[in-house]
Amino acid sequence: MTAESEVIELTLASTLKSVETAEELTTEVCSKAGFDEEEQHRIGMAVHESMINAVHHGNKNDASKQVRLRFQIYPDRLEIHIRDQGTGFDLNRIPNPLEAENLLKVSGRGIFLIRSFVDEFRVEKLEGRGTEVTLVKHKNSRKKLA
């Protein structure tokens, strides 16, 4: 895990505009890291969902709160860290959107989609410094849908 990585970092306000900015940057970083267009789209979507969650659930749409976005490009993988200023959440308590009783719910699919699109998804509460989610996509991993 000591392999060198290139780091790209950005601090954004908690707005929908920032979600767009993050997506655009993701596409650029992904293409630089060598992911093909389909993978760029999937990783972009995972970042889109994570950014919306950070802005909406983490920072409660308070534009003065920040979201920090950090890309780390390793030879074998891309890691994306998205940190908000909220109090975090427990991944184990999130309802499964595929359960029959949840199928017609209007929300609760974001994290499920993120998990379908990247290889690893982690949530970490940083004492006094907010919550960080980490998305990892391996190169040449070609994760299949469904």
């Binding site: 889109h48 969902e49 919306i52 199928l103 017609l104 499920f112 989609l113 849908l145 469904a146």
Partner: protein, 119 residues
């Protein structure tokens, strides 16, 4: 890039041609309002043509589900037409293909509403 929605009438069916991105934001609120207005006006056969939808996120998917439920609750039907591969894949992994009636051909989709009325 943003969403556009235009409605047209074919027989008893209101077809909504949607293009662009169905993602969180004002456009989504407009789509919800459009569907609610159709239902309020008694236009209860709604066919969403998603042929030109380039991107849909979890909020957009939620809005489709919300429209589906609103239509069903009012004795109407909301169906989908012309899914792009991206949208199809998303509805598949979220198991919503088991919820929505999806058509690849407009005439067949329109006819499916007529049948429903006669029963």
């Amino acid at each position: 890039m943003s969403m556009k929605a235009k409605t047209r009438r074919v027989d008893s069916v209101t077809v909504v041609d949607i293009s662009g991105r169905i993602t969180l934001g004002e456009d989504l609120t407009e789509l919800r309002q459009l569907i609610r207005n159709l239902l309020a006006q008694g236009q209860k056969h709604i066919l969403l043509n998603l042929a030109d939808v380039t991107y849909i996120d979890s909020s957009g998917i939620g809005e489709l589900v919300s429209g589906f439920t609103a239509a069903s609750n009012q004795g109407g039907q909301l169906k989908l037409l012309n899914l792009t591969k991206k949208v199809h894949d998303l509805l598949q992994i979220t198991k919503l293909l088991t919820v929505f009636e999806v058509y690849e051909d407009e005439a067949t989709a329109i006819a499916s509403f007529q049948k429903a009325t006669r029963v």
